[in-house]
Structures are given as C-alpha cells and as structure tokens.
Amino acid sequence: MVNIIVLVKQVPDTNAKIVVSGDRVDLSAVKKVMSPYDEFAVEAALQHREANGGEVTALTLGGAGADKVLKDAKAIGVDHIVRIDSDGDHDSNSLQTAIASVLSELGAEVVYCGKSAADTGAGSTGPGLAERMGWASVSNVISVAFDGGITVVAPSEGGDARISVPIPAVISCDKGNMKVRKPNVKGIMQAKKAKVEVKTVAIQPSSVAIVAHTMPPAKPAGKSYEGGAAAAEVARLLRDEANVI
C-alpha cells in the first residue's frame, strides 16, 4: 500500500493566445486546463496504485478557481483531492517549502508530477521537492514499471537509461509512450460531488519578484522565395549570410 501524491497545476490552454496588458499577462479571457504533462503524471500515479495498491491524492496550489483541475483529476480516478490555498506569485523557494510541508503532513511516499508546467516551463518543482524531502528523483521520465520499487526510463546522453528508483521518490513525467485514460461518466459524476480538502499554509516571502511581462520581440520579416529551385540560394545564404552551415 503506497501513499501516492500527484501534483497538478492549472495553466492556460496551450492553444490559447497570450496577451500582455500593461506589464502583466492578461489571462482573464483564457481557458484554463490541467498542464499537459501532469496528465501523464496522473496516469503514472494510477498505474502505480493498480500495481502496488494504495491511494492517490491529487495536490495543487492556487485559489478556489484551481479546484477545477482537482475535479478533473478526480474524474480520471484519483482518490483524494487537496488544494493549498494561495493566490499570487511565489518563487521556487517559497513554493516548494510550502508544498514540502504539506507532503510531509500527508505522509507522501511517492510523488508524481509533470516534467514542467506549461506556463513557466521551468521544471523546478519536482527535483526541488525531492531535495527538500531528502528523496531520490528522476526527471523527464518516459516510462514507468512497478516491481515493489519503481523502474523508470529517462533520456541519457546518446540514448535512454533504465533506472531503479528507491521509494520515497519524486518522478517527473514526460509524455513518452504513455496513453492517458479519459474520465468516464461515473468518474465525472463522482468528481462533481467530491469535496476539495483546502489547506492553509504560511508561505514565506519570495526573493525573486516578477518585474514585468512583455511580448517576445517581433522578428524582422525574412526573405521569401517561390519554387523549390530557390533552396539552392537559401543553402548558400545559410552558409554565407547566416554562417550556420
């Protein structure tokens, strides 16, 4: 019986257009979804439960609006849903300290998360939490197998490595070959009724503060050509103008 936690994060739909208004991104009109890699983390957590028994708790941090991502996880099949109540931005140190305290309180033994969240793309939370808990971690995992412990496959220089991971551990998941299950009607009904457990944690002040969001610099118009024969000219420019060949 393993106490499994899966971290989920609500992010703007990855197909959404991002708008900057003043000096901050304006996400008010953007649909929010579970960060795509977190779906693989949920799947890995459920497979772990099926292989070894135990319970899966989905954990997020955010305001009440973030309950939806927990309900989505519940509909897919997690047992419990917990939100650390917090609005506002936190640097990695403040965020991880808060989450680590809740992991200890919940008695977590294995934590799954996405390899990075689709908003920041940082990928710091998984390895950072593992360090704070004194646990093993493997990131960018593309396959998981359970045999008492956990065996994962992750990229290594020139190929992939099959790695034994002792428990407790944090596993950060990439897409790999994992097929995620979809919620069924029963799951969706259960999720509607499910109650989110809300935890209040004192979050320490951040030492990294957001100054501004800006749009990426516009790229000057490039050169355009018609017809495949132009590829010869482009190849020459790549060598003589861009110096990249």
């Binding site: 257009k17 099959r162 050169k223």
Partner: protein, 310 residues
C-alpha cells in the same frame, strides 16, 4: 560581494562550448566567475582554464559524476561550491540539477534565462508566447539558454584546483539503451530539420534524414506528424508538448506552424520554412521562406548542401 559560480556543461566527457556562454552570462551579473567542472578525471577541467573571464577553475572530482543522478550530483557540487549565485546550462539535465542545488541551499532557481540586466533576468514563459522579467534580491541558481549569450573568448589561463568530492547516489542505472540511430537527439542538436504532416507519409522522412546526415543535424517532427503516424516517435516531437529547442538553424518542412509548434522552436537563431501553402503561419517566423512542395525543394537543398560539405 558573493561569488558567481559557473557549473561547466559536460557532453561526451568534455567541456561543452556553452560553458563559455555561461561565463559571459556570469560576467553580466558582475564579477569573474569560478568554473566548477564535475568530472571523474580532472584533466577534463583543463579546457576550462583557457576561457577568458574566469577567475579560477575547480575540477570537482568524484565517481558520482560517472552518470547523472540528481541527488548525488547536487550534494557533490554543493559540498565544494562557495556561497553565491550559480549558473548552469538550460539543458534538461542541468535544469534538473539547478533546481536541486537551489532547493538544497534554500535559495530560488530561475530557469531558461535569455537576458541579464543587473539583477534582472528574463526568461520565456508560456512556451515563448511571452517573456517574464524577474528581479533577484539574493543569491539564486540560474539556468541559461544556449545560443543566446556570446561565448567568452579563449586564450586565458587561470589556475585549476582539483578538489575531491562525494555525494550519495539515490538511484541506480540498470542499463543504458543506445539510440538506434547515430543521429543526434533534437534536444542536443545545433541544427534541426523537422517534418510535419505535409510530408505526406512517414516514409518520406528519409529525405529529411538524408539532409540531416549531410549537415550533422537532428530530425524532428511536429505534433501533427507524431499523432498521425506511429512510426514517428514522441522523442522527435518539437513543440509545447514535445521538446523546446533553440538551435542555430531550424528547418521546418511541411509544417504549417501551429501555435504549439512555434512555442517549441521560435527562439531558434535562424528558421527556414518550406511549405507549399504561402499562407502557412510558419512563414511569419522564417528568416528564409520557400513556397514549394518538399518534393521540389528537398532534392535541391540536399544536393546544394552536399556540394558545400564536400
């Protein structure tokens, strides 16, 4: 003032060229950095001594550095690195290490930095659809994207101190599985040629592979191609749910330029687009756009490049 420390990027047992870019980034933060070279054989560190602008090189020697384990590497580096701000490369492995070292020291980590101005750091967010600038008010660990900062010139000669260190490995590698092809992975390559659904069939990727082999490039794919064809593995996918890349040259063939693909490659230094649809969004991001079918363009590209490399 506290130290600035660069963790050398190691690839294939030698110091990767991006280490010189990290030295430039460190200088932008102020001061001349100490370069720490994680190694099993201290002679590897000698190459770092010639990077101009470094104050000292520490060859951090340990069996731990034989292969990557986040816990082992973080503890072995933390044990010998002085207090201060630490810079790493923004490769997947080094970002993982950066997060781990920062957590170990109870300081923050800022990933994927592409600009430094005093204590202000800028990174892409929302997969490059916006930029975020943050201000530091204390030491931090910073990962820096490749191909953004100029490489510090070579020709310097600073001292190399060999320091033995150790850490506890938390995981154990059972086996390494070499990639079937000798071709580079998109995450490691300086040139990438990618195909989309416009290639018509996965069998046609051989034309991309031929060009890749001519110029030493990796072969990538769009999500549409990966989702449509079983033969195109997710490991090739460039984009928001695949790999984020910023090579010197990105050649997109038969890729329309969906927002989620652009998110993964728009920061490439030079972008070439080949697409038969003149209205494809990819052309708005291309330095060189060719409106043509791949059947017309790729043979010309292949033979011209082969002539240049000969």
């Amino acid at each position: 003032m506290t130290e600035t420390i660069v963790i050398a990027e190691i690839a294939k047992g030698t110091i990767h060229a991006t280490t010189s870019e990290l030295v430039t980034a460190a200088q932008a933060l102020g001061g001349s950095p100490i370069i720490i070279v994680p190694c099993t054989d201290a002679s590897v560190a000698d190459a770092a001594a010639s990077i101009q602008g470094a104050s000292k090189v520490i060859a951090a020697k340990s069996d731990v550095f034989n292969h990557y384990d986040a816990a082992g590497w973080a503890s072995a580096i933390d044990a010998i690195a002085p207090a201060g701000t630490i810079l790493t490369s923004a490769t997947p492995q080094s970002k993982d290490l950066a997060a781990r070292i920062a957590a170990r020291r109870n300081i923050s980590v800022v990933q994927d930095v592409v600009a430094i101005d005093g204590n202000q750091l800028t990174s892409p967010v929302y997969s490059g659809k916006a930029m975020q600038t943050v201000a530091l008010s204390g030491p931090a660990v910073i990962s820096v994207r490749a191909n953004v900062f100029d490489a510090a010139p070579s020709g310097g000669s600073c001292d190399v101190a060999v320091v033995d260190t150790t850490g506890n490995m938390a995981t154990a590698v059972q086996e390494f599985m070499a990639r079937a092809s000798q071709r580079l992975d998109v995450a490691e390559a300086n040139i990438i040629i990618s195909g989309g659904r416009g290639m018509g069939s996965p069998d046609n990727f051989v034309h991309l592979e031929a060009i890749a082999d001519t110029i030493g490039a990796a072969v990538g794919a769009s999500r549409a191609a990966v989702d449509t064809w079983e033969a195109i593995p997710h490991s090739m996918q460039v984009g928001q749910t695949g790999k984020t890349v910023n090579p010197n040259l990105y050649i997109a063939v038969g890729i329309s330029g969906a927002i989620q693909h652009l998110a993964g490659m728009r920061s490439s230094k030079y972008i070439v687009a080949i697409n038969k649809d003149a209205d494809a969004p990819i052309f708005q991001h291309a330095d060189y756009g060719i409106v043509a079918t791949w059947e017309d363009a790729l043979p010309v590209l292949q033979s011209t490049l082969a002539g240049m490399m000969a």
